[in-house]
């Protein structure tokens, strides 16, 4: 072969080899990748097979138990047999205990809102949402002076309380309740500064299996004091809380106390309940000391008599603690509630209830005097309500109260009408005429409109 031809042949060989060599390496890489993928697929298949075998085993066990006429074993026990660590999501899924991870198709599908029950799904506690919206329509003067019943929210429709309630059994020996609420705060200096105040209303545990028939609860709660103080905002018989309670304890009554409370139903032939509680004292109006060194101590005795369609409840309460400026304050309350319920359909119902509070409080003396002064003030309310049927009720409440410290008193009359389309929806219209003297000098005419709803679980009504 001539030299130029040999050189050309050599160059061709080099060029061809340089082109083929990377291809060979690439083919080798692909084969490796394929081997790895194959191995991964094998592993996934093995995992899936194992998972399905475990699921089949669990289902087989359940079927066997059902065939034997027994309730299925608790899911956790079944899961434990299949996989030791059921608490991890993977293990739980493998045991068929947790819902599958949603696919894109699942996410795109229209979904149901919260439902009370769905087949195959169990909620281990109850969830309820309550909404309470109020409109306070009054004169421009009341609005300007912010001295209406809902101070700072006059001539507005506002969410007084939207509450999320979670309640249920903690274990065989205890139950718990957690309530979180949001409500509109009164306007500040700037009318545009309205904000929703979200707060923890209640978070307490009730111990149900204590010795001597004792029931006790601890945490954040609405204490057992008086007749209406224990009732939540949305369950009140009228739109607003009676004046005596708001003057002595603030707009929401004696609420949000941290402490412990025990109660007993005495083993007697008639009903007698005793309650005793010790709390921090976090009520800004009456007991704001906020320390267990100077605790708020509460006690209540309640009794009940029932004869055919008549029921009568009486209660006597006492609360003593320290105000935020370190003065002793004691409030004593007496309440009564009578109800007549027609036999048969349970309607009509007539309710007559009233409560009186007396406050014994020390406060700073007037300027120029030394020591402190003792104030003895009292007030009360009385209302009657007639439930014509399940849906309609009319009522009238009268208020009279002195102010706990300042010189002044007020009375009010509030007729109202209530309409309940169902157990879960309620509307009220209430007119309130208030006459105040002294520090609360005013004449106020207000019209309240209220709409309340319950979504989901709701507690049973109490007497």
């Amino acid at each position: 072969m001539p030299r130029p031809a040999r050189r050309l042949f050599t160059m061709l060989v080099i060029v061809v080899l340089s082109c083929i060599a990377p291809l060979g390496f690439a083919l080798a890489d692909d084969a490796d990748a394929l081997r790895r993928e194959l191995q991964q697929l094998r592993e996934q298949l093995a995992t899936l097979t194992q998972s399905y075998e475990q699921r089949l085993k669990v289902l087989g066990n359940r079927l066997e138990q059902l065939e034997r006429g027994r309730a299925p074993a608790p899911a956790s026990a079944a899961g434990t047999a299949a996989t030791p660590a059921v608490s991890t999501p993977t293990a739980a899924t493998e045991a068929g205990l947790a819902p599958d991870v949603p696919t894109l198709a699942d996410l795109a599908r229209p979904r149901q809102p919260f439902a009370l029950a769905q087949p195959g799904r169990v909620l281990l506690f109850d969830i309820g949402v309550g909404g309470d919206f109020v409109a306070d329509v009054t004169s421009a003067t009341r609005e300007r002076r912010h001295d209406g019943t809902f101070a700072g929210r006059e001539n507005r429709l506002f969410p007084r309380e939207v509450e999320l309630g979670l309640f249920g059994r903690v274990d065989p020996y205890a139950s718990a309740v957690v309530r979180i609420s949001a409500g509109e705060e009164p306007a500040g200096v700037e009318p545009s500064s309205r904000e929703l105040d979200v707060r923890l209303d209640e978070a307490n545990v009730t111990l149900l299996s204590l010795p001597l028939g004792t029931t006790a609860r601890f945490g954040l709660m609405r204490p057992r004091f008086g007749t209406l103080n224990t009732v939540h905002q949305d369950d009140l018989p009228q739109v607003d809380r009676p004046n005596v309670l708001t003057r002595f304890f603030g707009e929401e009554g004696l609420d949000g106390e941290r402490g412990v409370e025990a109660f007993w139903v005495l083993p007697l032939s008639t009903y007698h309940e005793l309650a005793l509680g010790v709390f921090d004292g976090d009520n800004e109006v009456a007991f704001g000391r906020g320390s267990l060194r100077d605790p708020l101590v509460l006690g209540r005795w309640r009794t009940f008599w029932e004869l055919d369609e008549h029921g009568l409840q009486l209660d006597v309460s006492a609360a003593t603690g320290f105000t935020s400026d370190d003065h002793r304050n004691t409030v004593v309350g007496v309440g009564a509630k009578y109800k007549w319920i027609a036999t048969g359909s349970g309607f009509p119902v007539f309710t007559l209830a009233g409560e009186a509070l007396a406050g014994f409080r020390r406060a700073d003396a007037a300027a120029g005097e030394t020591g402190d002064r003792r104030f003895e003030r009292w007030g009360g309310y009385l209302y009657g309500q007639y439930d014509l049927d399940r849906r309609w009720a009319v009522g009238l409440r009268g208020d009279w109260t002195e102010l706990p410290v300042a010189r002044g008193r007020e009375w009010a009359l509030s007729p109202y009408v209530q309409f309940k389309p169902s157990e879960f929806l309620r509307f009220r219209v209430q007119y309130k005429h208030t006459e105040g003297r002294g520090a609360v000098e005013r004449t106020a005419d207000e019209l309240f409109l209220q709409g309340s709803f319950i979504l989901g679980a709701h507690p049973t009504e109490r007497f």
């Binding site: 370190d326 003065h327 002793r328 048969g344």
Partner: protein
């Protein structure tokens, strides 16, 4: 400063007095609570949540104990409010017989207030009568309040079918026997005697309603599916189509049309419901309203299970024959 010191001294003295008072009060309370642990009486103390369970349990217990009921006979268990007197009943009871399908879910907060942990749900002293009963109308789809105040677990009025009683009574006797094994034999005797009586009465009831087998019936509330199944009647519709919610005009118009087509003669109304809407529906459809007690004891002389169904079936057969 002087004022603060003066107030402080007075407050501390008052505190000591308060602590003494509270300690005394606590001791008095404890002493008062002590008799609650007195040994159990020889007689059974049973509480039934609803009048039908009360009537059945009384037949089983006989003279072996006292059976109380937490609702007044004739009272609508759907609209119940908790009364302190119920707390007292729960506190005194040793064993609780409940429906098990949440018709009596109101008893749970009563128990929690009573200081009697033996009756908490899931405890051995609690009998759920429904266990093993073939429950009708169990909801299969999502359940929310758009369906009214529904019972997601199914229709709870199962005792209106005498055919469920062998299971229901077995549950109750088993529960009572857990508490008092020494009484099981006598309870079982009572049970057999009661079931024999019910079987004889059932033959009588079937005979009374035999001429009307297949007749269509409408009721105000959905209380009767087990009763219809037992006696061969057909449910044409329910006025209150969503429990606890007044019916819509569209629903009533459709129901009246159906009633005319099926020649429905009777609208059953439980004695605790208003009769104005059922009367209007019955008038429009050419039927008549029959107000009957849905549970024993609502009418004098119907305190037993058999007397109650005697009254119901007697009134219904007469109404269907007209």
């Amino acid at each position: 400063m002087d004022r603060a010191k003066c107030g402080y001294t007075r407050n501390r003295a008052a505190d000591r007095s308060l602590v003494r008072t509270l300690t005394t009060a606590a001791l008095v309370l404890l002493a008062a609570a002590l008799p609650a642990r007195a040994p159990a009486q020889a007689r059974l103390k049973v509480l039934a949540t609803l009048p039908d369970l009360w009537a059945i349990t009384r037949a089983l217990v006989g003279d072996l104990g006292d059976v109380q009921v937490a609702t007044r006979p004739g009272q609508n268990p759907h609209d119940l409010e908790i009364r302190p007197s119920q707390i007292l009943l729960v506190k005194r009871a040793e064993i609780l017989v409940r429906n098990g399908l949440d018709e009596d879910a109101w008893i749970d907060p009563v128990i929690e207030s009573s200081g009697n942990p033996r009756l908490l749900r899931g405890a051995p002293s609690v009998v759920e009568a429904v266990r093993g009963v073939d429950v009708l109308k169990v909801r299969t789809g999502p359940v929310d309040r758009s369906l009214g105040d529904v019972h997601p677990g199914g229709n709870p009025h199962f005792t209106l079918d005498p055919g469920t009683l062998p299971v229901v009574t077995a549950n109750i006797v088993a529960g009572l026997g857990r508490l008092r094994p020494d009484l099981v034999e006598r309870l079982e005797q009572n049970r057999r005697r009661f079931l024999d009586e019910v079987a004889a009465a059932t033959r009588r009831w079937i005979e009374a309603l035999a001429p009307h087998r297949g007749a269509g019936v409408v009721s105000y509330h959905d209380s009767w599916p087990y009763f219809y199944r037992a006696f061969g009647l057909e449910e044409v519709g329910v006025i209150e189509d969503r429990p606890g919610v007044p019916p819509s005009p569209q629903h009533l118009a459709g129901l009246i049309r159906q009633m005319r087509e099926r020649r429905v003669k009777v609208v059953l109304v439980e004695s605790w419901y208003p009769t104005d809407t059922p009367a209007a529906v019955a008038r429009a459809a050419g039927a008549r309203v029959l107000v009957i007690p849905q549970s024993p004891g609502a009418v004098k002389g119907t305190e037993t299970y058999i007397a109650h169904l005697d009254a119901v079936i007697g009134a219904l057969s007469r109404a269907l024959a007209e």
